[in-house]
C-alpha cells in the first residue's frame, strides 16, 4: 500500500470537487430542501399533515441526501471516465494496486455523503422549525449509523458505476434510485407498511430502508423504527455486499 499515491488520488478528487462546488451544493440541497418545504411546511401548516410529520420526515430526508450524494459522487465519474473520457487511465497507471483507486473513490464519496447528511440536517431543521423534536440519545450510535449509511451510498455508487453503461444512466435513476427512494421508508416509517403485508417484507431487500430506519431510530426514537441491531446488521451486510460487487466490477473494467 502506497499512502503517498492514495493521498494524491484523494487530493485530486477534492480539487475537482472544490472546482465544482456550487453545482455540487445545488445538486445536494435543492431537491431535499424543496421536499422539506412542501411536505414539512406547506402541508403541515395547511393542516393536511400532522406537526409530528416534521420530525418523522427529517431522518428520511437525511438518508435520501446521503444516498444520492454518495451514489452520484462515485458512480457518475466512474461511468464517464471508464466509458467516455477514459481519464481514469492515468490513475490506473499510478504506482498503486488498482483496487486502491476504487477504495479511494469509496472514501471520497463516503466523505461527501457524510458532509451532505450533516449539512442537510441543520438546514432542514431550520426550514421546519418549530415543531421538530430531535432526541439524539446516543451520539456514538448516530455516528456509526451515519458512517455505515455513507459507506452504503459510496459502495453502491461503486457497484452501479462499474456495472452500468453510459447510455443507461437515465434508466439507472428511473429504475434503481427512484423506486429505492419511494420504497425506502424515507417519507414514512417501516411500520406504516404493516397494512401491506407483502410489501412490508419485500422492502427489506432495499438497503435504503435500513438507512432511513437507522437514522430515524437514532435521531427520533420516539417514532416506531426497526430494531437498531437489525439496522446495523442490514447496513453492514449491504455495505460489504456492494463493496465486494463494486471491487469485482471495477477490476473487470480496469483490466481487459
Amino acid at each position: 500500500m502506497n499512502w503517498k499515491t492514495f493521498w494524491a488520488l484523494l487530493a485530486r478528487d477534492a480539487h475537482v470537487a472544490r472546482r465544482n462546488f456550487v453545482p455540487l451544493i445545488l445538486q445536494t440541497f435543492l431537491q431535499p430542501m424543496m421536499f422539506v418545504f412542501i411536505f414539512g411546511r406547506v402541508m403541515v401548516r395547511s393542516g393536511y399533515m400532522p406537526v409530528a410529520y416534521k420530525s418523522l420526515l427529517l431522518p428520511g430526508i437525511m438518508a435520501i441526501s446521503m444516498i444520492f450524494t454518495g451514489v452520484w459522487a462515485v458512480a457518475m465519474p466512474l461511468i464517464g471516465e471508464f466509458q467516455f473520457t477514459h481519464e481514469i487511465e492515468d490513475r490506473l497507471l499510478a504506482p498503486i494496486e488498482n483496487h486502491w483507486l476504487a477504495i479511494e473513490k469509496v472514501c471520497f464519496g463516503g466523505a461527501q455523503a457524510i458532509v451532505a447528511g450533516l449539512a442537510v440536517l441543520p438546514a432542514a431543521w431550520l426550514l421546519l422549525r418549530p415543531g421538530v423534536e430531535l432526541n439524539l440519545q446516543s451520539p456514538l450510535l448516530f455516528a456509526v449509523v451515519t458512517l455505515l449509511v455513507a459507506l452504503l451510498s459510496a459502495c453502491g455508487g461503486l457497484a452501479l458505476g462499474c456495472s452500468i453503461n453510459q447510455e443507461k444512466i437515465g434508466l439507472m435513476f428511473s429504475m434503481v434510485l427512484t423506486p429505492m427512494i419511494f420504497f425506502g421508508c424515507t417519507y414514512y416509517p417501516w411500520s406504516a407498511l404493516e397494512n401491506f403485508p407483502i410489501l412490508h417484507k419485500v422492502v427489506l431487500v432495499n438497503p435504503l430502508v435500513y438507512a432511513s430506519e437507522g437514522l430515524r431510530g437514532t435521531l427520533v426514537p420516539q417514532f416506531p423504527h426497526l430494531p437498531i441491531v437489525a439496522v446495523l446488521a442490514g447496513l453492514f451486510i449491504f455495505d460489504l455486499f456492494f463493496l465486494m460487487l463494486g471491487l469485482r466490477q471495477f477490476r473487470r473494467k480496469a483490466v481487459t
Binding site: N2, K4, T5, A8, L9, A11, R12, H15, V16, R19, N20, T85, H86, E87, I88, E89, D90, R91, L92, L93, A94, P95, I96, E97, N98, A254, V255, T256
Partner: protein, 344 residues
Amino acid sequence: MAAIMLAGIHTQDLRKIYTSPPPMAAGGGFGPRRKGKDQPAREVVALDGLSLDVRGGEIFGLLGPNGAGKSTTVGILTTRVRPTNGKAWIGDYDIWAQQVEVKRLIGVVAQRPNLDFALTAREILLFHGAYFGMDSRTRAARATELLDRFKLSDRGDQLTRGFSGGMMQRLSIARAMMHDPQVLFLDEPSAGLDPQTRLLLWEIIREYNESGKTILLTTHNMEEADALCQRLAIIDHGRNIALGTPAELKASVPGGFLLRLRFGAQSSDLIDRLKTLNGVREVRVNNDDNGDSNADVYADRGGSLVSEIASLAATASVELSDVHISEPSLENLFLHHTGRSLRE
C-alpha cells in the same frame, strides 16, 4: 541497479484472446477468428504467441497494420490488458505479478486521448507527479519545463476540454514523461499531429532516449519507424513476422525495389520470362476475380526495368495495364512478408 538504469522489455509467447469486443485502442481490426464447436463465436485472437526482446536504452518500434495486435501488446506491457497466456517483463519485474513496481518504471501515451478533463494542463502534470510521489517543488519545476518543451506554456492554466487534438497529444506525452520513467510507451504517438509537431515530437523522443531511457512505440507510419526506431518488429495477426534494424529489414526484401504489374490476361509464359530479366530476384503472381493477373516483381533496380517488361509483354501479346514502382521501403517489406499492404 543496472537492470533498473536500463530497463528492457521482454515477452515470451504472449497470447491474448478477447471474448468480448477488444477495447477501442486495441483493435477495431480483427485477427483471425477461431472456429470451434465449443468456443464462443466472438473470440478474437489479438496476439498469437508474440515474443519480443527490447534492449534497455533503445527505441524499438512495433510496425503493423490496424488490428495487428500493437495496442494489445502495449496494453499487456502496461498492465492494462491481462494476457491469456505467456509472460512479460519490464526490467526484472514480471508485469502481471509485480504491477506496482512495473507501473513505477513506465510512462504511457495511449492511442486515444485520456486527459483529465476536470483539470488544467498544468494540474494534470502536477497531479500525475503527485501520484508518483514527487515532492511539490520538483513537480512544479518539471511541469513548467515540460509545458515549455511541448510549447504549451500559454495554455498551461486552461482546462484541456477545449484543446485541439494535437495539443492533447502533446500534453499526453508530456504527462507520460512527467515522472521521468525508465520505459516510455507511445501508442501511435504522431497520429493526428501536423508535420511540424511531428518533427518536434521526434526530436523530444530522441533526446529522451539519449538520456538512457527505453522507448517502445507503435506506428503504421513507415517514415516514422524508419526515422526514429533503432530496431523494429513487424507484426501481423498477433505474430512477430520480422525483426531487425530498419536497414536490415529493408535489405531483407529481395532486390529492394518492387514493381507491381497488372496484366489484362494471365500468361505463365510471360511470368517465366520476367524471372529471367537482369536484376529480377523474385516474381509473385496473384490472380484476381476479374481475370486480371497481378505480378509483384522484386528487383534490385526500378525504372530501368519497365521498358524491358513492356517489350516482353508486347512480345507475348499481353496487355500491360498498370505499373507501380516503389523504392526500398518498410512498406515493401511488409508486403513481402504478408502479401498485404500496410495501409489496407
